[in-house]
């Protein structure tokens, strides 16, 4: 169990560093889409929710899992949708006029 903890800590620390380096370079122009995109990516918890809901260990875990699936999947769908909509609005002076 503890070796899992250490392994996960490795992954967490390295991923956090990648996150810092990548996100530091995101243009301040795009900070709102950044937030909605990371929200959509964070909705990957839906995979854990699907397993909890589907393996049906108890009624409680199925119900909680179903709520979690709905909540995170709405985030995933809504997050990608709005990020895409926002990014479509960003045009330069060159691309603006046909």
């Amino acid at each position: 169990m503890t070796s899992d903890l250490i392994n996960n800590l490795w992954v967490f620390v390295l991923a956090a560093f990648i996150g810092f380096e990548v996100i530091r370079r995101v243009s301040p122009l795009l900070h709102t889409p950044l937030m909605s995109l990371t929200n959509a990516l964070d909705a990957i918890v839906v995979v854990a929710a699907i397993i909890i809901c589907g393996r049906h260990k108890s009624t409680l875990s199925t119900v909680l899992g179903a709520v979690a699936v709905a909540a995170s999947f709405s985030n995933m769908v809504g997050g990608f949708l709005i990020t895409d909509r926002m990014l479509r609005m960003f045009k330069t002076t060159r691309t603006k006029k046909p």
Binding site: M1, T2, L5, N8, V11, A16, I18, G19, F20, V22, I23, R24, R25, P28, L29, L30, H31, T32, P33, L34, M35, L37, T38, L41, D42, I44, V45, V47, A48, A49, I50, I51, I52, C53, G54, H56, S61, L64, G65, V67, A68, V69, A70, A71, F73, S74, N75, M76, V77, G78, G79, F80, I82, T83, R85, M86, F90, K91, T92, K96
Partner: protein, 462 residues
């Protein structure tokens, strides 16, 4: 080599998904590649979900499908909200993410009972506490942004002590559960106390601090997802949570720097209380005001104009009128740019999205550090619904509550025009000496109507 097992294939799909997530964020570095980034993220997400649906542990798909449909039905409208509603939508999605993480943590605890070891219990309690407080905290933030709840800070005497005691109670319950995981009756109490703490965390924070709060809640939501990855030993969640968490953290730091305040000050400072003492000297000073006709004449004769938008522009929904003004001035050969303060609006990047929606090209949206050296060569700085972010007291008056906050130096422009409803001080309640300068003209009125009048005058004068 043996062929891969189903579980290994699923893990492989997760690894690809996670790599795509990192690429998605990398491509967000510029608007040109950003759309590719969203596509990468979408492919990664679909891959992960499809792979998960193949997991052998799943014995019943009925509720999964129902929940996925519900999620899509809720998610699509949340993805189609108007751009002015993006801050509250973002707060809501932090709430959804945190809710999901908390629910899964709670379910895991009950599934594993009575065989929960100390390490697992540390992970579960930490995850559930952070998930729960982020859930209610984000709901309160969304309520304030949607103006269902009052946006001003709600404070009372001894508030910080009470709030911290509640958090302390949650931590004590968690500690007890770590050593006695079988005391299952205490678990819902810990969840409840954390939910209450989330409410107490955000209610004292005012609307002007929302960009920091939203970023901080983003970091918490990411952290709870990463912790969930620890609980379930799922590295895809650890990575996605770490990415989301670091994004939220970086944004919080940027927002705090842009207000020259610390995390602790935002969370426990109760900005609202400082103003009372600051409003001491209230001498009568004269301001110069101008009509739309005069403003139009000045703008029409300028060579360079910098427009500084603030939350007031969003409230008045003036961004489309501002675009008309931009078009009219550009047609006359005036060089028009926008100066964007990092905390203008209610969330990071808020002004950029509103102006992009109004079809203003993004290469004209200049952030604070790049635009400030240009103000001395600027003929007219037009301030629309921004106040504190242009307040020169932040540079000169050590007694001012916003002293030290970096500002857009509009006072260096040859002429400053500020559209404002009245002389009442801004959100933070701090008087703005900018309005009393000789070179400042006040344009009193509703931002949308006033900009519309200027556009009409400019068109008529041609």
């Amino acid at each position: 080599m043996n062929p891969l097992t189903a579980q290994q294939l699923i893990d492989l799909a997760y690894i690809i998904a996670v790599a795509l997530f990192i690429l998605a964020l990398k491509w967000l570095s510029s608007p040109a590649s950003a759309k590719r980034g969203v596509l990468a993220g979408e492919i990664g997400a679909v891959l992960a979900v499809v792979a998960t649906l193949c997991n052998y542990e799943i014995i019943d798909y009925k509720w999964i499908i129902v929940a996925l449909v519900v999620g899509a039905v809720v998610g699509v409208p949340l993805g189609l909200v108007h751009m002015t509603a993006v801050p509250q939508r973002t707060a809501l999605s932090h709430a959804c993410g945190a809710l999901a993480a908390a629910m899964i943590g709670i379910a895991e605890y009950y599934v594993r009972l009575p065989h929960v070891n100390k390490f697992e219990m540390v992970e579960i309690s930490l995850e559930v506490i952070i998930g729960s407080l982020t859930f209610t905290g984000s709901l309160i933030a969304a309520g304030k942004l949607q103006e269902i709840l009052p946006g001003r800070p709600i404070t009372y005497k001894g508030q910080n002590f009470v709030s911290l005691s509640v958090l302390g109670a949650a931590v004590l319950l968690a500690l007890w559960l770590i050593f006695h995981p079988e005391h299952a009756r205490l678990f819902p109490v810990m969840v409840g106390v954390s939910l209450i703490f989330g409410v107490m965390l955000v209610t004292p924070i005012g609307g002007a601090d929302m960009p920091t709060v939203i970023s901080l809640l983003n970091a918490y939501a990411g952290l709870s997802a990463a912790l969930l990855g620890f609980v379930l030993n799922n590295k895809a969640l650890v990575v996605a949570g770490a990415l989301d968490g670091s994004s939220g953290f970086i944004l919080s730091v940027i927002m705090c720097k842009a207000m020259n305040r610390s995390f602790t000050n935002v969370m426990f400072g109760a900005f609202g209380q400082v103003q009372v003492s600051a409003g001491g000297q209230k001498e009568e000073r004269t301001v110069r005001s101008a009509s739309a006709e005069e403003a139009a004449a000045i703008l029409g004769n300028a060579n360079t104009v910098v427009i500084v938008p603030g939350y007031g522009m969003a409230v008045a929904q003036a961004q489309h009128k501002v675009r008309e003004l931009y078009d009219t001035l550009i047609k006359r050969g005036v060089d028009v740019k926008f100066g964007i303060h990092p905390v203008a609006g209610r969330m990071p990047g808020h002004m950029n999205v509103l102006l992009a929606e109004a079809d203003i090209p993004y290469d004209k949206l200049i952030d604070m550090d790049a635009i400030n050296p240009e103000f001395p060569q600027t003929d007219v700085a037009l301030v629309i619904g921004a106040n504190d972010v242009t307040n020169p007291a932040a540079k000169t008056d050590q007694g001012s509550p916003i002293y030290g906050m970096p500002i857009l130096e509009v006072d260096k422009a040859r002429t400053v025009m500020a559209i404002k409803r009245s002389m009442s001080p801004g959100f933070a309640g701090i008087d703005n000496p900018l309005y009393y300068f000789d070179r400042t003209l006040m344009l009193f009125g509703d931002a949308k109507a006033f900009v519309g009048d200027i556009v009409r005058e400019l068109a008529g004068g041609q």
